[in-house]
């Protein structure tokens, strides 16, 4: 996405300095209003071709999902958020996961992760032949304010992994 990261960084550093007291007090409403969102120039677009029944699909959530016995939680303290991601296997079970994200209500997902990451639904559709393949690996991000490491490091890494698994379709589920 064509993005002026230098300009973002300048606005972002100013936003952090101004917002830190409110952030630490848990007062999110005002600081969200002043956050320097990067406004897209145009809309990114790859035309869709083919049929899901012949294709590989992957999911990405920003819900702060992680595997509790093998992965560290996301950093939920820092005003910068956490730009890292976690790999979530296609056969993950409810009892395998936990949530590290302080800025949305994840109580529904704690009962049934399919409400934000419908992997079990996709696996059923694969068994029925409606989806060709559910990728072996899916991805969770969490709350991020400093998008520089996100767009320069994490997202390119995830894209390379998606390409290695020959993913044809990506479902993006923000929280």
């Amino acid at each position: 996405m064509p993005m002026d990261l230098e300009q973002f960084k300048t606005s972002y550093d100013r936003w952090v300095a101004e917002s830190l007291p409110a952030y630490q007090a848990g007062d999110m409403k005002e600081i969200v209003k002043r956050y320097p969102f990067v406004i897209s120039k145009g809309v990114p677009w790859t035309p869709y071709q083919g049929r899901p029944a012949e294709q590989t699909v992957a999911l990405i959530t920003s819900g702060g999902v992680y595997l509790k016995s093998s992965q560290p939680p996301f950093n939920t303290e820092s005003i910068h958020g956490d730009p890292s991601f976690r790999e979530i296997p296609r056969n993950v079970r409810q009892r395998d996961i936990a949530f590290a994200h302080a800025h949305y209500d994840h109580s529904q997902a704690e009962q049934d992760f399919n409400v934000i990451l419908p992997l079990q639904r996709l696996v059923e559709l694969e068994a029925e032949g409606i989806v060709g393949k559910v990728a072996d690996t899916h991805y969770s991000f969490s709350y991020v304010n400093d998008i520089v490491p996100l767009v320069t490091v994490s997202v390119p890494q995830v894209i390379r992994r998606l390409e290695a698994e020959k993913v044809d379709i990506l479902l993006l589920v923000p929280v």
């Binding site: 809309v43 035309p47 209500d105 109580s107 767009v151 990506l170 923000p174």
Partner: protein, 80 residues
């Protein structure tokens, strides 16, 4: 960035105006909370329905930035 890498995407959303900052190429809108956009916990039929709607949206959306609405309401049966 995935689109630039040649991978088509469709995003879930629940607020048309919040989408405005980011302009995803394809959006399926549900009227459910951010933490539960595929519907109620345990509502397997609805979750499946919304996944199918997203896959259908990939095929039918031809205009970048299109937002498709869904008729599902929390706690109420699916229409038709």
């Amino acid at each position: 960035m995935a689109e630039e890498a040649g991978i088509p995407t469709i995003s879930l959303g629940n607020m048309p105006d919040r989408i405005g900052h980011i302009k995803p190429p394809r959006v399926l809108l549900t009227k459910f909370p951010r933490g539960s956009m595929f519907g109620e916990p345990g509502n397997v039929r609805r979750q499946r329905r919304i996944v199918l709607d997203a896959l259908e949206g990939l095929k039918t959306i031809s205009e970048p930035g299109t937002v498709l609405e869904t008729p599902y309401r929390w706690g109420q049966p699916d229409p038709e």
